[in-house]
Structures are given as structure tokens and as C-alpha cells.
Symmetry: C2
Subunit: 141 residues, 2 copies
Amino acid sequence: MHAIGTLAKRTGTKVQTIRYYEQIGLLPEPGRTEGGQRRYDDDDLDRLAFIRHARQLGFTLEAIRELLDLSDNPGWSCADVDVIAHRQLKEVEARLARLEALRKELKRMLRECSRDTVSDCRVLEVLRDHSACLADHGTGV
Amino acid sequence: MHAIGTLAKRTGTKVQTIRYYEQIGLLPEPGRTEGGQRRYDDDDLDRLAFIRHARQLGFTLEAIRELLDLSDNPGWSCADVDVIAHRQLKEVEARLARLEALRKELKRMLRECSRDTVSDCRVLEVLRDHSACLADHGTGV
DNA sequence: CTTACAAGCTACAGTGGGTAGAGGTTCAAG
DNA sequence: CTTGAACCTCTACCCACTGTAGCTTGTAAG
Ligand SMILES: [Zn+2]
Ligand SMILES: [Zn+2]
Ligand SMILES: [Zn+2]
Ligand SMILES: [Zn+2]
């Protein structure tokens, strides 16, 4: 039986975060001492470790909820699990593409700046006018 | 003189977002009609376009506030502007590195999965146990 | 000039994923 | 038995919006 602080230390989670996961139904309500303090067993520890690791891999709490549900049915096909992971991969790849474009444009802005006065600053110039910008983030203005 | 909806359409911003920017002091309070509706001039349009473009490049509203302040002093050195842009570049690069690691691990998980039952699913296995994971996201668990 | 209705207004709540603090209680070591 | 670290609940806050409810204003057609 572990106190909440032990769980926190062992999984690298803040105590408040553990209570938050309980509140949103991601962790089950644990047993309590007579005085009302939470006490966890090793299953809770494993479940929290799973959640934290999935969070580190960028899964949303909703996706994690689905994964936990699936993981409770060991005999089922893992196709659904893989669909969730694949969706996550696609999201990561989309964000990567977007960030890569931003990185390129930021580098270019900085490279082209003469480092003189604000009125000549290439960075501000590009920010004022997307047509001076090579990134393809939408066409507003 | 433009109504708020015109500004919204021309900059690809939601009407509520424009009112939000005003509320947090990023856009000045515009004039009003007798009936109380906001009316904007072309300077407001330029300022909003600047904000939206900087947002598309990932700058935070706080950074944008600084950039706008600097941009109001055309004679100053643009060193401060470039510091802000450089900071933003570093943040983008850090996120890129992190996402790249996630992408790699997600791909590996999916490649190695036998696509059989949940109990054998490689995806779940890796999520349960970081030591089966090649990503280097901290040492918690 | 009336009427219809799109577009505007304010105010407040909610999103995701937590984090911080106030103010009080309990556990465990010495 | 005392001390004090760790626990408890509750509330509010972070970012950058977004959505809703319930009302008022502006404008163009008939
Ligand atoms: Zn510059
Ligand atoms: Zn651009
Ligand atoms: Zn699988
Ligand atoms: Zn891992």
C-alpha cells in the first residue's frame, strides 16, 4: 500500500496531477485510511505509469482512456490499439511538418536581417507582410 | 471604417478573438457607432494582421506584445526584436527535436506489432514499460 | 416607412492538461 | 506525546481562444 506521495515520486508525477486524474475518472478511486488519506496498490502504480508514459509519447488523455479500456480486454484484437497509435503518429507528423516550416522561416528572417534599426528590421517586415514570407500557413491577409 | 466582421474576414480571425485581443490590451479600443458597434480603421487592420501572422509563426501573445511595442519605435536598434525571434526559433527547435523522437518511437511500436491480440500488442507493451522504448523522455517510472 | 434578418453587443462558461495556494487534518518517527 | 512532513478539500489560475444565451443595431428590399 502506497501513499499518494510515493506514487508521485515513483512515476515522476505531481501529487495534484494524480488527484486530477482521479477526478476525471482516469484513475479509480483508491481505498482510504481511517483518517481519509488515499492508499494505492501496485495495480494503481502500473496504471499511472502507463498513463504517464503515454503522455510522454504525446497521447491525449482521451486516447489514453481508450487505450486503458482496450488493455483491459487482453483477448481482443489489437487493431483498435494500433488505430489509436497510428492516429497519434499522423498528428505528430502533421505537427512536425508545420514546425519545420516555421523553423525555416524564422531562420531565414534572422539571416536576412541587417541588424540595424527597427524600421529596417527584416523580422518585423516579414511579420507585417506574409507575402514577404515563404511559409505556407494559410492565406489570411 | 470597418465593422468587426470585415476585419475578421480580412485577417482570417474569429470575431470573438478580435474582442479578446482588445480585452487583453493587444488591440486598442476602437471607436463606436452611436449604437455601440465597433468601427476600425486601416491601422487597426494592419495591427491585427501583424498579430495573426506572428501567431501563425508560433509567437506567444506576450512575445507579440513586445514586438508591437518595439515596432512603435522605428529608430531603435532591432537587436531586441531579433532576440525575441531567436528565442522563438530555439523553442521551435526544441519542440522539433522532441516530436522527432516521438515520431520515431511511434513508428517503431507500430512496425513491431504483430497485430494479433491485445495481450501481445507491442504498442501496449511499450506503453506499459519505458525500458522497451527507445525514446529518451526523462527517467520517470 | 416598415419589416426582416444578418451581424453586432455583453457576459459568462468551457476547452486541455494540469499547477498553485489557502487553510485545515493526519500519520509516523523519535 | 510532540513535532512536522505529508496529506486533505476547495478554489482559482495558466494560454489562447471558442461557444452559447439573450439581447440590440444596422441595412437593404419591398
Ligand atoms: Zn532585425
Ligand atoms: Zn507568413
Ligand atoms: Zn498492436
Ligand atoms: Zn518511453
